[in-house]
Amino acid sequence: MSAPAHTQTKPDLRAFLHGLPGVDRVGAEARAATLASRSIKTAAKQWALDMAISMIDLTTLEGQDTPGKVRALCAKAKRPDPADPTAPMVAAVCVYPDLAHVAAAELKGSGVHVASVATAFPSGRTSLEVKLADVKYAVSAGADEVDMVIDRGAFLAGDYQLVFDEIAAVKDACGPAGTAGQAGSAHLKVILETGELVTLDNVRRASWLAMLAGADFIKTSTGKVTPAATLPVTLVMLEAVRDFRDSHGRQVGVKPAGGIRTAKDAIRYLVLVNETAGEDWLDPRWFRFGASSLLNDLLMQRTKMMTGRYSGPDYFTLD
């Protein structure tokens, strides 16, 4: 009989993660709700809308994706508003690895990043060998950002070491340390799949685990599981990156993904960032939205602020 998975974890990693301060869910939800009641209007709203657009990882992750679909999405990424060239570009396009080369070709020289999911997204249920091959495939196809999934089964079984080692190996496969952004090298977002972790204590532990293992970004969700991103979960992750920078001197980004559909939602997330981790994170380099339909709502709100009229879906492209 083999020992339970959690005893294979080095004792200090487990002790560290379990020694982190607990999260009182009622209190965390109340804090998130209070921040969500901030009223962001006029100039502040205009700034927030543009910032939110520039933070979007415009995403398509469907079995039915084709090169044509990806090309259309890339065109939108570079020019989100057909009627207004002053609208900012999004941060990245996010696709499956086998279409990364299409996105890379379309986005070359534009400044929009190519993000690819990897490691047997979304479930992550396969061997480490396959996961690493998936990562290398994505990077060599031109992805400069990789969104990996953690092994939630291992995490919930207490095998933190396995989760840690996998993240470290994936980080390695993304390219030499500190070279993200250079050719053949990608920055790593680690998807915690908070909907499956369920408790906020788990979210805090998984956040720290990912950061200790080398994550450049921690990301809430694959978007394939409900609940996906929520304000309380993102609050806990923002507290984690803030505390990690204080104790370890390294800044890590945060990406809520899935379920963020309206401009109002997006602005709430920006308020959360502003008053939790602080304004250093109010930058596409450190905060992203994993979303697709959000973009059009942001554009519609933006148009309304400029013209004074409520807009409609006919005036924006579907992709």
Partner: protein, 478 residues
């Protein structure tokens, strides 16, 4: 220049229609006072005059008590509970319908942020009336015997910190139990009580069941000492509470008092830190610290002192102080010049006693009464700022080593209104709760109120409870 500057987000004042002057509400009607004396109520944020308000003299108080007695004997006490209930339900509904207007009025007159009056005060006011409406026809189940009777006419004096909410805490149970009332709101915050009088008219409440007499300390004293009332309910300072207790001692009036406090907010090393910091902030800066149950003493376990303080200071930097009607304001105005002077005085005492004073950088508006959120560290139990109620946004920070020491320090005060406990350990919460001599213990939360939850103090924080089944006792002849 912050990256993300929130633009002004003012709640519109136009929803409120202020009269130039208000009379007294006696026997279902607004009318002038006998002596023609009046005073002004101002906005503490801008010092502008909001309205002129009548000062009720002894003859006016007498008229009000007479009206209340008549209504008690002729219309209210004999009315079946289920009919009284329906009046209270009507009032609750109208409060909900006029919620935004009442919230704006409250913030104008009191100085508290609109977010608080909108999201906390007014919803609780409606809830209090709903809850007590349901008791009116169920008193035989309240645990006071098969047919508990009301007391008669209640004289009620309330403070300025939660004007309409304190009115609800007084009037709802009194009426539900079959009493009639004469209520005196605080002199600096009469406007929502006067709006409530209008609501009573809209609900067609029988005349004389509720009477509102505005005025200052004199009016309150006259009311409390009036021989025609059966019950005195007072919320305010311990000093005045003692005077009332003395004055009522030789009478057969039933008295309940809800007075001051100097609550300890105890943070253990295994507290959920981020939520504990929110709880500390909420505990002392909610409502500008104008809260009898405010967590004005932070007792933090020495082993986590520097981490907690660092988090706390960082958090205070995001508090927004300013126009109470701005929806993003967290800290509003101090209610009056007098209260501001008192806060300043005690803060100077704190410095003189050797504690270290700190506030986040804070721009104070030129007009109005303002005080920045302030922390004093290096405070010990012997310091005046650890013993005396400041009633402002000033936190005194002390340390402790063990749970037993925390309890000892928390209880080492003549007050006993509330306490906070922050730890992830359930057994410790319950152990602390059983030993804290405080009428309300908040564990991993703070400043939570509900009409079903009895509220009141031990020792010099007063006696009697408001809310819940226990709160009915104050208005029944049991």
């Amino acid at each position: 220049m912050p990256k993300f500057e929130y633009a002004p987000a003012p709640e519109s004042r136009s929803i409120v229609s202020l009269r130039e002057s208000y009379g007294l509400f006696i026997n279902g009607e607004f009318g002038p006072g006998v002596d023609g004396r009046a005073f002004k109520t101002i906005s503490p944020a801008t010092e502008e005059v909001l309205a002129e308000v009548t000062e009720a003299g002894p003859a006016d108080v007498d008229r009000a008590v007479t009206a209340a007695r008549k209504a008690y004997e002729h219309s209210w006490s004999a009315m079946p509970g289920r009919e009284r209930a329906k009046y209270l339900f009507r009032i609750a509904r109208i409060i909900q319908e006029r919620a935004r207007e009442l919230a704006v009025l409250e913030s104008l007159d009191n100085g508290k942020p609109i977010r608080e009056s909108r999201d906390v005060d007014i919803p609780l006011v409606a809830a209090h009336f709903f809850y007590h409406a349901g008791w009116a026809d169920k008193l035989e189940y309240a645990g006071y015997g098969p047919a508990p009777r009301p007391l008669g006419v209640a004289g009620q004096v309330i403070p300025w910190n939660f004007p309409l909410l304190m009115l609800a805490w007084k009037i709802a149970p009194a009426l539900a139990c079959g009493n009639t009332v004469v209520l005196k709101p605080a002199e600096t915050t009469p406007l929502t009580a006067l709006a409530f009088a209008e609501i009573c008219q809209q609900a067609d409440l029988p005349p004389g069941v509720v009477n509102i007499v505005t005025g200052a300390g004199e009016t309150g004293r006259t009311l409390v000492e009036h021989p025609g009332i059966d019950k005195v309910a007072f919320t305010g300072s311990t000093e005045v509470g003692k005077q009332i207790a003395r004055a009522c001692a030789p009478t057969r009036k039933k008295v309940t008092l809800e007075l001051g406090g100097k609550a300890a907010n105890v943070v253990f090393e295994d507290a959920p830190v981020d939520q504990a910091v929110e709880g500390i902030v909420n505990g002392i800066f909610f409502n500008q610290g104008h809260v009898c149950c405010a967590g004005s003493r932070l007792l933090v376990q020495e082993s986590v002192y520097s981490d907690v303080l660092a988090s706390l200071r960082r958090r205070l930097a995001t508090l927004r102080l300013g126009d109470p009607l701005d929806k993003n304001t967290d800290v509003g105005a101090i209610n009056s010049a007098a209260q501001l002077a008192k806060i300043r005085e005690l803060s100077e005492v704190g410095e003189a006693e050797g504690a270290q004073r700190w506030s986040p950088p804070c721009e104070l508006p030129v007009k109005g009464f303002w005080f920045p959120p302030t922390i004093f560290t290096g405070v010990s139990q012997a310091h005046r700022i650890a013993r005396e109620e400041i009633f402002g946004p000033v936190l005194s920070v002390l340390t402790f080593r063990t749970p037993a020491e925390a309890v000892e320090k928390a209880n080492n005060t003549p007050y006993g209104l509330s306490a906070g406990v922050w730890t992830e350990k359930g057994s410790l919460i319950l152990w602390m709760a059983s030993r804290l001599r405080a009428g309300v213990v908040w564990a991993n939360t703070f400043n939570k109120f509900d009409p079903t939850s009895p509220f009141g103090g031990y020792k010099e924080s007063g006696y009697g409870r408001e809310g819940g089944r226990h709160g009915l006792e104050a208005y029944l002849d049991v």
